[in-house]
C-alpha cells in the first residue's frame, strides 16, 4: 500500500494530483485530456492521434482486461501518460497477454493510478485543455508547475512527423471476421478491388483493416507525399487519415497535395483528415475547450436524419461559418454541441467525417461511411431488373 511508488501530475494552473506510479519511471510533459470511453483503453493509448497527450480515463477501472497483441491501433502506445482512478495489475481476460502496467513500462509510458480523476476531469472541463508535467522521480510540485508552464504548446509542435510512416507500404491485413460478424457490413453490394491510397498522418490500423476487409487494395504513404507521388500510384481514392496535433501545424506539403488532388481523385478524410480538407479548401478551424474524446457522442447525418453513436477523438473543429463562401457543406453534426462532424464538397467527390467510423474503440454504427467510400470507388453494379 503505502510503500508503493508515487507519482505526481501538475497542471499549468497549479492543480496537483498524486497517484501510485505503475508504469515507466521518469519525467514528462504533455497535453492533458480526458477520455470518457468505458471500454477500449488499449485502442485509445495506441492511437497515434494521442501523441503527446496525457490521457485521463474517466472510467475508474482501467487495465482489467490487460493487453493483447490484436487490439492495437498502431505499433506502440502513443499516449504520453495514462492516468486513472484504479489501474489493474493482474488482468482477467482470456485474450490478455500482458498487464497494462507491464506493457506501459516496457514502452516507456508512465501510468498513475489512484488519482482523483473526477476532479481532474472537472478541472479540464472548466479550464480547458492544459499542459501538465508528470514525474515519478522528483515530486516537487513547484518545479513540476514550472515544467508544465514551460512545456511547448501543441500549437508549436508538429507531431504528424513523429507518427507518420517514412516509406510507402502495402497494407493487406483484414479485420478478423469474428469482430464484425453481427453487423450488417461488407454486404458485397460493390464489386472490385479499388486502390485506396492512405495518407498517413498517424493512421489507426482499424481504418486500414476495414479498407482491406471491404476489398480495397491499400497503400499507405507518408504524410508529406506530393500529389504527383500519390497520383503516380493510380489510386481510385485517397484517404487522409487521422493524426495528432494542431492541424495548422501539419506540414505544408500535405496541404498542397490535398489541394492539388481535389477534383482529380475522390478524397475522404477522417478526423484530422477532415481538418486538412477543410483547411485546404480555405475553411477555418478552432480549438475546442476540452475536445471530444470518447465513444458515446451522437452524430446526426443531416441528409438522412439518422443518429449514430460515434467514437470521437479530437480537440479541433471546423468553423461552420467559414464554409459560407466555400464549395463545402456540412453533412453531419454532433448533437452534443452542434459542432461540424462531416463535410462534403459541393461538386467534387471530396468529403470527410470528424468522428471515427472505424471505431476501435466504440460502436460499430458508422461503418457504413467506410463502406460507402469503398463502394463509391467501384464500378457500379448494373441495376437489378
Amino acid at each position: 500500500m503505502s510503500e508503493e511508488k508515487q507519482g505526481m501530475l501538475v497542471l499549468e494552473d497549479g492543480s496537483v494530483f498524486v497517484g501510485h506510479s505503475m508504469g515507466a519511471e521518469g519525467e514528462w510533459v504533455g497535453e492533458v485530456v480526458f477520455d470518457t470511453a468505458v471500454t477500449g483503453y488499449q485502442e485509445v493509448i495506441t492511437d497515434p492521434s494521442c501523441w503527446g497527450q496525457m490521457i485521463v480515463f474517466t472510467c475508474p477501472h482501467i487495465g482489467n482486461v490487460g493487453v493483447n497483441f490484436e487490439d492495437v491501433e498502431s505499433k506502440q502506445p502513443y499516449a504520453r501518460a495514462v492516468i486513472a482512478r484504479k489501474i489493474c495489475a493482474q488482468p482477467s481476460n482470456w485474450r490478455a497477454k500482458q498487464s497494462l502496467p507491464e506493457y506501459l513500462s516496457e514502452a516507456g509510458v508512465p501510468a498513475l493510478s489512484g488519482v482523483d480523476t473526477r476532479r481532474l476531469t472537472l478541472t479540464l472541463r472548466e479550464e480547458g485543455i492544459m499542459r501538465g508535467a508528470l514525474s515519478t522521480v522528483n515530486l516537487d510540485g513547484e518545479r513540476l508547475l514550472k515544467m508544465a508552464q514551460n512545456a511547448p504548446d501543441m500549437s508549436v509542435l508538429s507531431p504528424v512527423d513523429e507518427v507518420s510512416l517514412s516509406e510507402e507500404t502495402v497494407w493487406t491485413q483484414k479485420l478478423p471476421r469474428k469482430w464484425i460478424k453481427y453487423v450488417d457490413y461488407g454486404g458485397g453490394s460493390h464489386k472490385g478491388t479499388p486502390h485506396v491510397v492512405v495518407v498517413d498522418c498517424g493512421v489507426k490500423y482499424n481504418i486500414l483493416r476495414h479498407l482491406a476487409t471491404l476489398g480495397a487494395r491499400v497503400t499507405v504513404v507518408p504524410a508529406n507525399s506530393t500529389a504527383e507521388a500519390i497520383l503516380a500510384q493510380e489510386p481510385d481514392g485517397v484517404l487522409i487519415s487521422n493524426g495528432p496535433g494542431d492541424p495548422e501545424q501539419v506540414p505544408e506539403e500535405t496541404m498542397i497535395a490535398i489541394r492539388e488532388l481535389m477534383g482529380k481523385v475522390p478524397i475522404f478524410g477522417i478526423c484530422l483528415g477532415q481538418h486538412l480538407i477543410a483547411l485546404a479548401a480555405g475553411a477555418r478551424i478552432f480549438k475546442l475547450p476540452f475536445g471530444h474524446h470518447g465513444g458515446n457522442h451522437p452524430v446526426q447525418n443531416l441528409k438522412t436524419g439518422e443518429v449514430a453513436i460515434t467514437s470521437q477523438n479530437h480537440n479541433y473543429a471546423v468553423d461552420p461559418d467559414s464554409l459560407e463562401d466555400l464549395p463545402l457543406e456540412v453533412t453531419h453534426i454532433n448533437l452534443y454541441d452542434g459542432t461540424v462532424q462531416g463535410i462534403r464538397h459541393r461538386e467534387w467527390p471530396v468529403y470527410a467525417v470528424q468522428y471515427h467510423p472505424e471505431n476501435s474503440p466504440g460502436p460499430h454504427d458508422s461503418l457504413y461511411v467506410l463502406e460507402d467510400f469503398v463502394a463509391s470507388l467501384c464500378e457500379k453494379e448494373p441495376a437489378a431488373s
Binding site: S92, D116, P363
Partner: protein
C-alpha cells in the same frame, strides 16, 4: 453557429426539414397504462417506478392517462400520478370492462412487467383490442410473442445468425427424456411463460430431471417446458437498450453479473458497467443486442438483453430478451441517471431519442450512451429465514425479495457500501461469523451458490485458498476476487492498531475502499464505538465528498443533485441555504417492509415540497420511486446507516429529519441520530422508543390504563416456563431483540415452548424473550391515525378477515369493518385517541387491537406510518401521509379540516399474496410471522364482491360452482356447519377428510369422504391434480404434525387452486361466491369511488 450555443438544438429541430423531426402523435389522446399487480418475487417496486415515470411523461405531453393496477400500495395508483385510476383485478374480463367503459386509444403494456405484457398479449389474442379499436404502443403483439415464447425466440435468433443455448420445448416427460439424451446433464428446465424463473432449475441427475420437468409442466400456463443445455459458469452480461422509430439505438448500461450463469440475475450481485470485457468483445454484444432488437421488432422502447459469454473462448450466446422495462432497467436508470421508462413512454408516442433532452445535462439530447465514472453494485436482499424449511441455495429461479444499490468510485467501495446497506447487521464484506468458519464450511459455502457466499470469499483467502481455486469453485471472475483480496492488507493494517495510531493516509485509504466506521471501530484495539471512529476521522480531516450522477462522466455540467458519497477531493453537492428537510427512506424491500413505505416517503417528499421546503431523500433501493432523481429536490443514494445519514446531515444541515415514513429502518436509528444532535421532526425520539420497546410499552399501557394481553419477560429458560405458566397457555413468544414478527410463535404447551426455546431463539439476560397470552379466536383490528399532538383523526379502522394469530400483514382485511359491533368500535376510537395523546404523537400512529369476548386489547403500537397507509389513503381518498407531514410542519388538524374516520360508500378489501410457490418445502400456512410479499385491493358496494375481487386480483379466483374440499380442526368444526350449508345450497359438491366429513354428515349434510395422503389413494392430492377440486378449506390442526396438510396445500398452490386456511376467510369466501353468482363484476375508478364518499 457558436459553440455552446444553448439554443442550437431547438433551432435545428424547428427547421422540420430532413433532420428527422417527428412530432408526437396527435391521433391518440387517452392511453391505458397497465401496472404489474401485487409485489411478488421477481416483480417488485421497479414497475411502480417505471409506471409512475411513464404516466408522468405521458401527462407532460398532454395525454390523458388511464391506469389499471390491483396494487393499492403503489404510487402509480395515486391520482396525482394518473388522470384516471382503476384499482381492479388484472384479468382479461376486467380489462375488457375498463376498455369498454373508458375507450382508450392506446395501451402501453411495457411498464407492467411480465404481468402487463401477458395481459396485453391476451387482449390482443382474444381480439379485444381490435373490437374496441385500441392500439398497442411501445411494443407490437408479435414482438411480445417472439420475445416471450422461448421456442419462437430461439428460432428468431437462429434466423439472424445469433446463437442460443441448445434447447427444446416439450409438453411431456417422455419427450423431455429424449432431449436430455442429446444435450446431457446438467440441464436447465424452464416452464414457459412464468415470472422470475418460477419453476425453473438445474437438474444434475435423472431423478431431479424427471421431477423438475413434471413440476414445470404443471406450473406453465401453457403446459410446456423448455429443456436447455447448461452454460453454468459462463459470464452473464446484460445490456439495457433503447431503440426509436428512426432506428436510433443506444445502450444505456451494461451490467455484469458477479455470480455468473446459473444464478438468476435477480439473485446475482451485479456490477455496472461490465468490467471484464475488452472493447472488441463488448462491441460484439452491442451488435448482437441491436440485432435482437431489430429481429424481435422493438421499434419504440427499451429492452433488456441477456448474454452468456464463455470465459475462455469468448463464445457468446443470447439467453433472453425482455421487450419492456424490467428490474434491470430500473437499476440501469438509477445507475446512470438515464430514465429508461420515461424515455420509453415518449418513444412510444412518436418521439425519437434525439428529440428528447437529457434531463440531467439539459443541453444534450437523449440519443447518447451514458458513460459513468464510478462503479455501481447491486446486492439482492433475501429473506430466507422466513422460510426455514425451503432450500436456500440459489439457482435459475429468483428468490430474493429486494435489493440495494451502491455507488462508489471503485468496485470495492461500491460493494462494501452495498454490503453495509442491506440491514442484515453487516458493516461490509468482513463478516465475523464467516471468519470463524472451518475450511470445509467455507468450501461448501463457495461451491453451492447461496445468499451468504459473498462473505466467505475473504475467509477463504485468509484460509490460504488461491484466487484461482476460489474462481474454480464459484465461477466468479478472478478480477472481482482480486479486488476483494486487496481489502485484506488494508484490514491487517487496521486490525489491532490503536485508533489514534491510524494515520491520515491509512484512514483515507480505508475509507476509499469503502470501510465503514463501524468496521474500523471493531478492528482497532482497544475496540471503540463507531462514533469514536467518526470523531477521530473528522479530526484527521478525512471527510466524504459527494459526486453527481451525471450520465456523462463530468463532460457536461449536471443540473440534478443526484449524489453519492466517496472519499475523493471535490464535493459537488452545493447545498443551498433554503429551508430543508431530509426524508429517510426504507431501504431494500424485504418481507414486512416494502413498497408501502416507499409510497409514504415519496408522498412525504411531495408534501414538504408543497409547503415550500427543499426536500432531500436518502435511500439505497434502486427499484423505488423515492430514488427517482426528480422525486425530491436532492437525492443522496446512500445506505441508510448512522454513518451515511450523519454525513449528509453534517453537510446539508437540515431543519429536521423525517423518520416516520421509512418503516422500521429509520426508527431503529432515531435514538442514535438524536443523540448525535440531528433534529428529528414529528413524534419525539423518546416517545418512539417508548412505543418500540415492548417492555417499556407494557408498563406505560398499564400506567395509562389501556388493556393489553397479559404478558411477561423471561431472561432465562426457567423464567420462560414460569411466565408461561402464570399467564396460561397458549402464549405468543418472541425475542425482544428482533423486530417485525421474526421468530415469533404461538406456543400451546410446555413441550412447544421447550422446542421453541431450543430451536428458534436464545434466551439470556441481555436477550430476553417476551411472552404474551395468546388471544384465541379473537378478531384483530388495525387502526391508522394522525395526531397533531393535541387532536387525533382516525384514518380508518380495518378489520382483519383472519383472526388474531395470523400476522396482520398476512391477513385479508376490510374497511369499513363488517363484524365488529359499535360498542367495540367506540372503545377502539377511545383507546386510539388516548394512546395518541399520551404518546404525544405528531404525525402517524398505527395501533393493532384484538377483540375477544367483547373486550378490546392493544397488541402493539407503531409510532410511524404503517404498511396500511397507502391502502387506507386509496380507500378513503385522503392522503394521510400528506396530512401527517402538514402536522409535522406545525399545522393543526382543525385548521387543515381533516375528516375523522371518513365514511366509505364502498367496501375496500385488501388481500395479500404469499411466495410459497417459490419455496417448495415450506408449509403454506399463515401464522404470527409475516411472509407475504405484496397486496391487492378489491372495491365494491358489497363486502362479498369486494372480497371476491380481492381474491381474483391475488390470483385465487373463487369458483362459482364445482367441488369444495373441507378439512378443518376440531375447534373449527362447529363453525364450519353454516359455511358448508351455504356452499351446498349454492350447488357445490362437498368432499372432506374422514373426521370433517363424518361430523357434517351427522348434521345432515351430503359430503363424500376422501382419503388423506397418508391413508392411501386416490386422495385429496390426486383430486387436485386431476382438476376435481375447485376450492380447499383447510384449517391447520394446530401443534406440529401436519405433513399431510402440507403436501395438500403445496400441490394446491402449485396447481393454483384457491386454499383458504381460516374459517373467517371461508366465511368471507362464501359471501364472495354468492356475490359472484348473482351479478357481474363492475369496474369503477378511484375517482368515482371517492366522489361517492364525498357526497355523503
Amino acid at each position: 453557429m457558436v459553440l455552446g450555443d444553448v439554443g442550437f438544438l431547438a433551432e435545428i429541430y424547428s427547421q422540420e426539414d430532413n433532420t428527422g423531426f417527428m412530432p408526437k402523435r396527435t391521433d391518440i389522446h387517452k392511453i391505458l397504462v397497465i401496472g404489474s399487480g401485487p409485489i411478488v418475487i421477481g416483480q417488485a417496486c421497479e414497475f411502480d417506478y417505471s409506471g409512475t415515470q411513464a404516466c408522468k411523461a405521458l401527462r407532460e405531453e398532454g395525454y390523458c392517462t388511464l391506469l389499471v393496477n390491483s396494487n393499492p400500495a403503489t404510487i402509480m395508483t395515486d391520482p396525482e400520478t394518473a388522470d384516471i385510476v382503476y384499482i381492479e383485478p388484472l384479468t382479461v374480463p376486467v380489462l375488457e370492462r375498463i376498455i369498454e367503459k373508458e375507450r382508450p386509444d392506446a395501451i402501453l403494456p411495457t411498464m407492467g412487467g411480465q404481468t402487463g405484457l401477458n395481459l396485453a398479449t391476451d387482449l390482443y389474442r382474444e381480439g379485444i383490442l381490435d373490437r374496441y379499436n385500441v392500439e398497442l404502443i411501445g411494443v407490437r403483439g408479435e414482438s411480445i410473442q417472439v420475445a416471450e415464447d422461448r421456442e419462437d425466440f430461439k428460432e428468431a435468433m437462429t434466423e439472424v445468425g445469433l446463437e442460443c443455448p441448445r434447447s427444446y420445448a416439450v409438453t411431456s416427460l417422455e419427450a423431455a427424456r429424449d432431449i436430455v439424451d442429446e444435450i446431457g446433464l446438467p440441464a436447465i428446465i424452464r416452464p414457459s411463460f412464468t415470472l422470475g424463473g418460477t419453476g425453473s432449475g438445474t437438474a444434475y441427475n435423472r431423478q431431479d430431471f424427471d421431477e423438475m420437468v413434471e413440476r414445470g409442466l404443471k406450473q406453465s400456463p401453457v403446459d410446456e417446458v423448455l429443456v436447455e443445455e447448461s452454460v453454468i459458469g459462463w459470464k452473464e452480461i446484460e445490456l439495457e437498450v433503447m431503440r426509436d422509430a428512426d432506428d436510433g439505438f443506444v445502450v444505456v448500461c451494461s451490467i455484469e453479473n458477479f455470480d455468473p450463469m446459473g444464478v438468476h440475475t435477480g439473485d446475482s450481485i451485479t456490477v455496472a458497467p461490465a468490467q471484464t470485457l475488452t472493447d472488441k468483445e463488448y462491441q460484439i454484444v452491442r451488435d448482437m443486442a441491436r440485432r435482437v432488437m431489430e429481429r424481435v421488432g422493438v421499434e419504440t422502447g427499451g429492452a433488456n438483453v441477456q448474454f452468456a459469454i464463455h470465459p475462455e473462448t469468448g463464445r457468446t450466446l443470447v439467453i433472453e430478451m425482455n421487450p419492456r422495462v424490467s428490474r434491470s432497467s430500473a437499476l440501469a436508470s438509477k445507475a446512470t441517471g438515464f430514465p429508461i421508462a420515461k424515455i420509453a413512454a415518449k418513444l412510444a408516442v412518436g418521439y425519437c431519442l434525439h428529440e428528447l433532452p437529457n434531463d440531467i445535462t439539459k443541453e444534450t439530447p437523449a440519443s447518447f450512451e451514458p458513460t459513468v465514472d464510478y462503479a455501481v453494485v447491486k446486492i439482492p436482499r433475501w429473506h430466507m429465514e422466513k422460510f426455514p424449511q425451503a432450500d436456500a441455495s440459489l439457482g435459475t429461479q429468483m428468490k430474493s425479495v429486494g435489493e440495494v444499490m451502491a455507488i462508489g468510485r471503485t468496485f470495492i467501495e461500491a460493494i462494501q457500501k452495498g454490503a453495509s446497506a442491506r440491514e442484515d447487521g453487516r458493516d461490509g464484506l468482513f463478516d465475523p461469523e464467516a471468519a470463524e468458519a472451518s475450511p470445509e464450511e467455507i468450501r461448501h459455502r463457495l461451491i453451492e451458490p447461496n445468499p451468504e457466499r459473498l462473505f466467505y470469499i475473504i475467509p477463504a483467502l485468509d484460509a490460504g485458498m488461491s484466487i484461482k481455486e476460489i474462481s474454480e469453485l464459484t465461477y466468479i471472475d478472478p478480477w472481482f476476487l482480486r479486488e476483494i483480496d486487496e481489502l485484506r492488507p488494508l484490514r491487517d493494517a487496521l486490525a489491532g492498531s490503536p485508533l489514534e495510531a491510524i494515520s491520515r493516509d491509512l484512514m483515507r485509504e480505508a475509507k476509499r475502499a469503502g470501510m465503514t466506521d463501524a468496521l474500523i471501530a471493531r478492528l482497532v484495539r482497544p475496540a471503540v464505538g463507531e462514533l469514536d471512529v467518526r470523531a477521530y476521522r473528522k479530526r484527521l480531516g478525512v471527510l466524504p465528498v459527494y459526486s453527481r450522477v451525471d450520465t456523462c462522466a463530468a463532460e457536461f455540467p449536471a443540473f440534478t443533485p443526484y449524489l453519492y458519497s466517496n472519499y475523493e477531493s471535490v464535493c459537488e453537492s452545493d447545498p443551498t441555504d433554503r429551508r430543508k428537510i431530509v426524508v429517510l427512506g426504507s431501504g431494500p424491500n424485504r418481507i414486512g417492509q416494502g413498497i408501502e413505505f416507499d409510497y409514504c416517503c415519496t408522498k412525504a417528499s411531495f408534501a414538504f415540497a408543497e409547503m415550500g421546503f427543499e426536500t432531500i431523500m436518502i435511500n439505497c433501493n434502486p427499484e423505488t420511486v423515492s430514488t427517482d432523481y426528480d422525486t425530491s429536490d436532492r437525492l443522496y443514494f446512500e445506505p441508510l446507516t448512522l454513518e451515511h445519514i450523519l454525513n449528509v446531515c453534517d453537510l446539508e444541515k437540515p431543519e429536521g429529519v423525517i423518520v416516520q415514513f421509512g418503516g422500521q429502518t429509520p426508527l431503529k436509528l432515531v435514538k442514535r441520530l438524536a443523540d448525535a444532535g440531528v433534529p428529528i421532526l414529528g413524534t419525539s425520539p423518546d416517545a418512539i422508543d417508548l412505543a418500540e420497546d415492548r417492555e417499556r410499552f407494557g408498563a406505560f399501557m398499564q400506567e395509562i390504563g389501556l388493556p393489553m394481553p397479559e404478558h411477561g419477560t423471561a431472561r432465562s429458560v426457567e423464567e420462560a416456563f414460569e411466565v408461561a405458566e402464570r399467564i396460561g397457555y397458549p402464549v405468543v413468544v418472541r425475542p425482544s431483540y428482533v423486530l417485525g414478527g421474526r421468530a415469533m410463535a404461538i406456543v400451546y404447551d410446555e413441550g412447544d415452548l421447550d422446542h421453541y426455546i431450543r430451536s428458534a431463539v436464545k434466551v439470556a439476560e441481555d436477550t430476553p424473550i417476551l411472552i404474551d397470552r395468546f388471544l384465541e379466536d379473537a378478531f384483530e383490528m388495525d387502526v391508522d391515525c394522525v395526531s397533531d399532538g393535541q387532536d387525533v383523526r382516525i384514518a380508518a379502522i380495518m378489520e382483519q378477515i383472519e383472526l388474531a394469530g395470523v400476522h396482520s400483514g398476512d391477513s385479508a382485511c376490510v374497511i369499513p369493518t363488517v363484524m365488529v359491533g359499535e360498542e367495540a368500535l367506540e372503545k377502539i376510537r377511545d383507546y386510539t385517541r388516548r394512546l395518541a395523546r399520551a404518546l404525544h404523537v405528531v404525525g402517524c400512529l398505527n395501533i393493532q387491537y384484538a377483540m375477544k369476548d367483547g373486550e378490546v386489547y392493544v397488541l402493539e403500537a407503531n409510532p410511524r406510518a404503517s404498511r396500511t397507509i397507502p391502502y387506507v389513503s386509496k380507500s378513503t381518498g385522503v392522503s394521510w401521509a400528506r396530512v401527517a407531514c402538514q402536522v409535522i410542519n406545525g399545522h393543526t388538524l382543525d385548521e387543515l379540516k381533516v375528516p375523522d374516520e371518513p365514511r366509505l360508500e364502498s367496501y375496500c378489501c385488501k388481500e395479500v399474496v404469499l411466495p410459497f410457490i417459490k419455496f417448495p418445502g415450506e408449509p403454506a400456512i399463515l401464522g404470527p410471522e409475516m411472509r407475504s410479499t405484496g397486496e391487492v385491493m378489491g372495491m365494491d358496494a358489497s363486502f362479498g364482491m369486494a372480497y371476491a375481487k380481492a381474491q381474483m386480483a391475488a390470483g385465487n379466483s373463487l369458483p362459482t360452482s364445482g367441488t369444495v374440499f373441507l378439512s378443518v380442526n376440531d375447534r373449527d368444526k362447529e363453525h364450519l356447519i353454516p359455511i358448508a350449508q351455504e356452499l351446498a345450497d349454492m350447488g357445490f359438491s362437498l368432499v372432506g377428510t374422514r373426521g370433517t366429513a363424518a361430523y357434517l354428515r351427522e348434521r345432515g349434510l351430503a359430503i363424500e369422504t376422501v382419503l388423506k395422503v397418508s391413508e392411501g389413494r386416490p386422495n385429496g392430492v390426486d383430486m387436485i391434480i386431476n382438476g376435481e377440486l375447485d376450492l380447499l378449506i383447510n384449517t391447520p390442526l394446530g401443534g406440529r404434525a401436519f405433513s399431510d396438510e402440507h403436501v395438500l396445500r403445496q400441490v394446491a398452490v402449485a396447481q393454483a387452486v384457491p386454499v383458504i386456511t381460516t374459517l373467517s376467510g371461508a366465511q368471507a369466501a362464501v359471501q364472495g361466491i354468492k356475490a359472484l353468482r348473482t351479478r357481474d363484476i363492475e369496474v369503477k375508478s378511484l375517482q368515482e369511488h371517492w366522489r361517492l364518499n364525498v357526497q355523503v
